[in-house]
Amino acid sequence: MKRTLGNVLLPSILLVLAYGFWISPDFKAISAGVAIFLFGMLALEEGFRAFTGGTLEQILKRSTNRLWKSLSFGIVTTTIMQSSSLVSVITISFLSAGLIGLSEGLGIVFGANLGTTTGAWLVAGFGLKVNIAAYAMPMLVFGVILIFQSAKKLKGLGYILAGLGFLFLGIHYMKEGFETFRETINLAEYAVSGYPGLFLFALIGVAATVIMQSSHATLVIIITALAAQQITYENALALAIGANIGTTITAILGALGSNEKGRQLAGGHLIFNVVTGFVAILFIHQFKSSVDFISGIVGIGEQDYTLKLAVFHTLFNLAGILIMVPLIGRLVHFLEKVIRAAPSQFAVPAYLNESALAFADTAIEAVRNETLRVYDNAHEIIARGLSLGRSDMFSDIPIEDVIKRHSRALAFDFDAAYERDIKSLYGAIITFCARVPAEVQSSHELSRIRTANQNIITVLKGIKHLQKNMNEYINSDNAYIRDEYNRIRSRIIRVIRRLDKIGSGSEPDVTVLSLDALKLTLEENAAILNERLERLIRSHHISADMGVSLINDSNYSYEIIRNLISVSSNLFHAGARAETEAEHMIALEDHEISSVLEEKAK
């Protein structure tokens, strides 16, 4: 259901966007801006990932390990960068890369809210405007040059610079796109007095900042409108509050491309700004009096609304910090509860737990059961890798019919399936084996299971190698090469079916020994194949290239089969342990099987 929805949703979104681009160039610019911005976020995260586990992590840990430190970090960096949005998106990428925790991230974002108010002071007090966006283009150029370097750190730095460049470029395009809307904002039309007016203007402030992507730009409009007496002083304050909430849109946009940690931080940022905004609106009169009081002390003139706005901005953000900091623990708890991580895509061990480690037998049994799971998952990959359905592979349908039914190559992402279903379990098994008591580690049983795991991995590697040519040649017009590759497929299926029968106990009960007959078939088939292959090349039915591929892939197929037999030999056990040992003693060695083959030939 979810898949069908996804299949329909994506083309629909693309169609709607394409139609939008066709009818509105502004919409195109805005969408391109969002896309570039998100790409910048990805690049930034990639860049910070290069520094994980090293210096940057240590610096960040040291400068954010206490709440006051993370707050100060936010204040200082935002004052330097003059953009709280930028600091929040960088913090989101820190968090997504696992460099810092959520509470440290929230501390930085809270601090950034206070740090951003220094912008108002700079603009109002000194007419100074730090425009870091001017560095965007050089950042992109330097960033891309560094990305091409082979050194990991330089590459990482390149991604960070390019990421910042793309962020600014994205914001620039978004602003360009919204430029037309800017002229339509006439604040005088909305003049309403009292609390409804405050809420309305706060909402206008949110909308204006979302549209212009800059709370500074909104502040400039507010000051102009106030000077022209289009709005009251109270409404101007409400607009400033709205601008403060609206600025979180950048962080929310940034979190779109991030993991759950980034989204939790963006959520925290929004909650902080909304709560602060509400408090500021509710106590607007008290704030107003406080602003007047402070202005009086520091010598700001009665009519100097620009500086008074700066005071107000600082004051209510400070109030927000005072309110929210004691609640930071609860906020973290709430955010982690509401915004959860998507369920893990990777297979999780089902048997390897602490209690299984307590006894030798339970430890071995846990490893065996987990290995059987890996083997089961591997069957799925083998079937798909051979362009088959798993159920058909294990069915009683004649193999020729199964091959006919699946005569075309299937699109199958081997690496993704391996990562998802095998790698994590195999890793867990290795870790678990290293933790079992020393006397268990040296036991025959555990070493056999360990070998079985290695066999499974070798089988899968073989399937991966085989898949490339097999997919090409089973679709080939040349019937000879197609038949040869289908023979390889049949051979593997035949062995898997036989092993399944032996393993499920539907064969007479000397499981380990039953595998020797399969080994003999394998040796015999190898000899027959070599003869046939030579004939095919000599008669020009297949090209030399095809011949080389076939030889290599046949070897892979024998490697696969040999290891499949070995997995079974190492994982199967007779009812009693002593009997399994006896069966392993009697099992024929490779040279003994070869001599049976020679005897047969005579």
């Binding site: 007479p508 000397v510 020994l513 020797d516 007959a517 002593a578 009697i586 024929l588 003994e592 049976v596």
Partner: protein, 95 residues
């Protein structure tokens, strides 16, 4: 009764290697018995099998089982040769 059990345990402890050989002997003999049954079973299957390729496969399997039995008997005689309580000729009982 308890004393007899205790003495058996003491005896096992003092003759651990012998006990191990005895266990191996027992399990090998059991597997050999199973293999003998399997050999008979395959022989019977070959007689009634109509499909040529399947019969070939069964014949191969028969050869393998036969070689396994030979190897098993050899191992069993070795063990019985080493074990002081048994004589090598007894190994024939497994075949």
């Amino acid at each position: 009764m308890k004393l007899r059990k205790l003495l058996k345990k003491l005896n096992d402890y003092l003759h651990e290697e012998e006990k191990q050989l005895h266990d191996k002997d027992e399990s090998l003999a059991r597997v050999l018995k199973k293999l003998k049954n399997k050999e008979l079973d395959i022989q019977h299957k070959i007689e009634i099998e109509m499909d040529e390729s399947e019969r070939k496969f069964l014949e191969q399997e028969l050869k393998i089982v036969h070689s396994q039995r030979e190897k098993g008997i050899r191992l069993l005689s070795d063990i019985r040769g080493r074990s002081s309580g048994h004589k090598p000729e007894e190994a024939k009982s497994g075949s």
